[in-house]
Symmetry: C2
Subunit: 380 residues, 2 copies
């Protein structure tokens, strides 16, 4: 029997609740039924983002919400600071360039995280900075920035700086306290920890962010957040929303909250630890010095091509992992833990990797990767 | 048994093929499987748009594709002419304003269409015009512009004018020959004749449009069509696409082409004629002097409130029609014919309307609306 398993950090496997919701007959969005469901979904998202801030749902990929943040909050006269530790940090810079928003960068090597102190220093060097643009998890390197420390330090020393967090692969798989840590804009997307197809993005907006929206002058229309906010507070959207995905999102949020957000996050963290131990036992080398719980990125053992390994995993077992992006292309594999996964999936992925390595001539003690992962799981 | 029927011009009822496709486990977009499916889907859309031009699929509502057309094709120095015959024509103007693109308007009363000659006159008055922005069907008034005459006349007299058509509710329910009529950009959306949930927009781009893209300077990132084109020619997308909807779109396009596009369009035209005859027999008054086959807009008989009638249709029969927008709010009802409908659905809607009118005290000969519709259907 040919089965398919995706271990990519987006799209992630669909939650059955989502599949069933998406197969339902569609309802119209200008109805009381949709309005109530939409308002409830906004409240559920607030619980998952740990925020009482405004919450918007956009019909777009996560990149659309990143654009919305840039073009609604900043203009040509607003200095921003972007933390660039990989492809998604680079996306902040490209977005600012596209909208003529000045952007200085704090560049980290691939696999490294920016510390709160480094960010504070950069802000001190650029005291005119209006916005900090950062990732919760830089998915291209599977690296987490310490948003708790960063948020607390920036909030204390730079009260006027608006903190904008691409948490597209952060929400629901690593601790994230939007309000407690003072994060003004937090962005996520449907195809990540929400275990839905791509097509919706979510963003929370603090009052600090809302004040910027009313003053920033960059052009926008589809991503006009002031217009969205006015509509969404009334349970509607500015443009026709992806109704089916919103219905499925409602079901998935309830499932996540029913299982308990802390438990869901802890499970992702456990899967990440197990994966790391398993890969290390198989002579992989971790890319990141601050590894995320969304995904694990690792270099294969000496003499094994990452591309060859990925191809073999797919051909032999229908198991899809992600590769590297940009300069990491062909050098690493990335295995996701966010969304509809459990620990048994980790053992399953590791056993497939073991078998492929053996077939590729690597000396592997069968079961050694799985064993290391199991020991980690038992400890926890 | 409580059933629900939507007769709104988007979202429209889902095709069963779409529902089944959306419930399937998701595949990853960076795979050969998706690439082949995506390239095939682009070709299927070309057949439905009747074009050999480039075809793009965007993860956004139709409005997103309208924005993409404006900000990729025009800049602050490019004069445009927008035909404004309702809310969606007004959207062209708002979009141009948002991106500082100069826009003169040809304004028609709600329910009126612009003629080719009127458009040519406006272009003669503004010989510097670079782009014509128009709807195939102005959904807010259910009015069709004669794109064949307009396209042919503009192409002959104004070879440099790029014709941009919002055919969001035009494709698949009224004749539309993008290439034969010289339409440079044609836009549609998933939740219309494609009988899918909202969330995808499609647009064809002629070589004239592509030349404009390379010169226009308006800011864009998520809707960067040059980047999209480069990716989509290779079977990929610039940003994570709504994979599930693309898979469903593929299935739906095949179903439409298997039934025959001309036949599908003729069926929508028949439904529109039947609906008009049925409503006229029930003393409704048509709003449009150039009624579309996407939807029918009509004023209820004297003394009957459109809002009351809509509400009663929904409460009594779970049947949802659309109301008026803007200054037509509360004054008309709109019944859709585009997508997964057949002639029996028209009889069903008319019988519900008859019953509601009777309950509201209107003197109605039971069956008279349905009878008029049936006679029209038999004639055809």
């Amino acid at each position: 029997m040919r089965k398919t398993r995706i271990f990519t950090p987006g799209p992630t496997p669909l939650m059955p609740e989502a599949q069933l919701a998406m197969a339902r007959p569609i309802i119209h969005h200008r109805t009381q039924e949709f309005k109530e469901l939409f308002l409830e979904t906004r409240r559920l998202l607030q619980q998952i983002f740990r925020t009482e801030n405004e919450m918007l749902i956009l019909t777009a990929s996560g990149t659309g919400a990143m654009e919305a943040a840039v073009c609604n909050l900043f203009s040509a006269e607003d200095q921003t600071l972007a933390v660039v530790a990989g492809k998604f940090g680079e996306r902040w810079v490209e977005l600012c360039q596209s909208f003529h928003v000045p952007c200085v960068t704090l560049i980290k090597e691939y696999g490294e995280a920016a510390t709160a102190e480094e960010i504070a220093e950069a802000l001190r060097r650029h005291p005119e900075t209006k916005g900090l643009l950062i990732q919760a998890c830089e998915t291209s390197t599977a690296t987490s920035h310490d948003l708790e420390a960063i948020g607390n330090l920036v909030r204390e020393e730079f009260p006027e700086v608006t903190i904008v967090v691409d948490a597209i692969t952060g929400v629901g798989c690593q601790p994230l306290e939007a309000d407690q840590w003072g994060l003004d804009v937090v962005i996520s997307g449907s195809q990540k920890a929400f275990a839905l197809p791509p097509g919706l993005a979510f963003m929370s907006l603090s009052s600090r962010a809302l004040r910027r929206i009313s003053s920033a002058a960059s052009p926008r229309y589809y991503f006009n957040l002031a217009k969205e906010l006015k509509n969404q507070q009334a349970g509607q959207t500015a443009w026709t929303p992806n109704v089916s995905l919103v219905v499925a999102l409602n079901a998935v949020c309830k499932e996540i909250l029913c299982q308990g957000l802390d438990k869901v996050v802890a499970e992702a963290e456990l899967m990440a630890r197990c994966t790391r131990q398993g890969l290390l036992a198989l002579d992989f080398r971790l890319l990141s010095s601050s590894p995320s719980s969304a995904a694990t990125a690792a270099f294969p053992p000496e003499g094994i091509s990452a591309s060859e390994l990925s191809k073999r995993l797919e051909q032999r077992f229908g198991l899809k992992v992600a590769g590297g992006q940009g300069e990491l292309k062909g050098k690493i594999i990335r295995i996701a833990h966010l969304g509809y996964f459990d620990t048994l999936d980790v053992f399953c992925a590791l056993s497939a990797i073991e078998l492929c390595l053996m077939e590729m001539g690597q000396p592997v003690e069968p079961g050694s990767g799985v064993k290391a992962a199991m020991l980690e799981a038992r400890q926890s």
